[in-house]
């Protein structure tokens, strides 16, 4: 197991971050609507956090 195991998770996180940042400067979207869009993606964010945790645990188990 290597640090690169985080790369695919980082990739989707970057995509989420960039889209989320675009949302705040998008014409025609109110701050409330931008907030709703961000809240909608909470399941994805939870999955990302859990995946990071899973990879971390795998690394730890391998070291032990």
């Amino acid at each position: 197991m290597k640090k690169r195991d985080y790369l695919p998770i980082i990739a989707i996180l970057i995509m989420w971050l960039i889209t989320s940042m675009s949302g705040s400067s998008t014409p025609g979207l109110t701050p409330t609507q931008t907030g709703i869009l961000t809240l909608i993606t909470v399941p994805l964010l939870i999955a990302i956090i859990l995946a990071i945790r899973a990879v971390y645990k795998e690394h730890k188990a391998e070291k032990e």
Binding site: A11, M15, S20, G23, L44
Partner: protein, 257 residues
């Protein structure tokens, strides 16, 4: 949202990689190139984890599967006279048919990432569970991407422009529901294919496995399109039957398309 239809020259240049309709803009350049950098992260991970053959299968497979689906869906709309959606020719430099190259590359790293996350979270579950989770995660991301994209005029859903077509489509956040079904199906089917076929290499050998992989890919592409057409027809039939699920102003808190 009113959106000018693409320059007629766009349709004459379907096969051009560079359509020459986008003005010079560093933001457009960034949007075209940035997905390549994210894709490189996934390609590197895939190469180190699975080797070059499986990496090529995933990259070429996901690229072709998703971008051909985009192309067919857009061109069917264009040639049938009832436009489905289109990408703005003024917003991208490089194209694969009528789909921007950056979108096709985006499909690769999104599918790679969500399939990877699903594998990490549900490694002890069946293939179908992992594929469904991957599809749902991708669809969840698109619930944010699409409403932002249409307001930035990166792409457009022309059905949003007339009341008649608005009412024969079921909208979520101003986007036709068939779009989200499409996102789910593409990742779901591809994830199943990815888990089922490449491991057969040991018994089938590499050449046969590659052939079978792409053969199934073509079949799944047809199946995805059939389901999407079916869903669209079902929504229209329900509308004619009086069930107005295509009310463009639902939900009220979001507003119309």
């Amino acid at each position: 949202m009113a959106f000018p239809p693409p320059d007629p020259a766009f349709w004459d240049r379907i096969l051009w990689l560079w359509k020459g309709l986008a003005p010079w803009d560093p933001i457009i350049l960034f949007r075209d190139i940035f997905p390549v950098f994210i894709a490189i992260l996934c390609l590197y991970h895939s190469y180190k984890t699975f080797g070059w053959w499986k990496t090529t299968l995933f990259f070429v497979g996901s690229f072709l599967f998703t971008s051909l689906e985009e192309n067919v869906w857009i061109l069917v709309g264009y040639f049938s006279g009832t436009p489905t959606y289109y990408f703005s020719p003024e917003q991208y430099y490089l194209w694969f048919g009528v789909c921007p190259l950056s979108v096709a590359i985006g499909w690769f790293f999104i599918s790679y990432s969500v399939v990877y996350i699903a594998t990490k979270l549900f490694k002890n579950r069946g293939v179908l569970t992992r594929a469904a989770v991957g599809g749902l995660l991708a669809m969840n991301l698109d619930l944010m991407v699409d409403p932002i994209a249409v307001r930035n005029l990166w792409w457009a859903w022309p059905q949003a422009e007339t009341l008649a077509t608005q009412q024969t489509t079921f909208w979520i956040l101003g986007i036709p529901v068939t779009n989200f079904i499409g996102w789910f199906l593409l990742i779901f089917f591809f994830a199943i294919l990815w888990e089922k076929v490449p491991p057969k290499e040991e018994t089938w050998k590499r050449k046969k496995t590659t052939g079978v992989f792409f053969l199934y890919l073509a079949g799944l592409l047809g199946l995805t399109l059939l389901i999407l057409v079916g869903a669209q027809i079902l929504i229209a039939v329900l509308h004619v039957g009086g069930l107005n699920i295509g009310d463009p102003y639902f939900p009220i808190w979001w507003g119309g398309p």
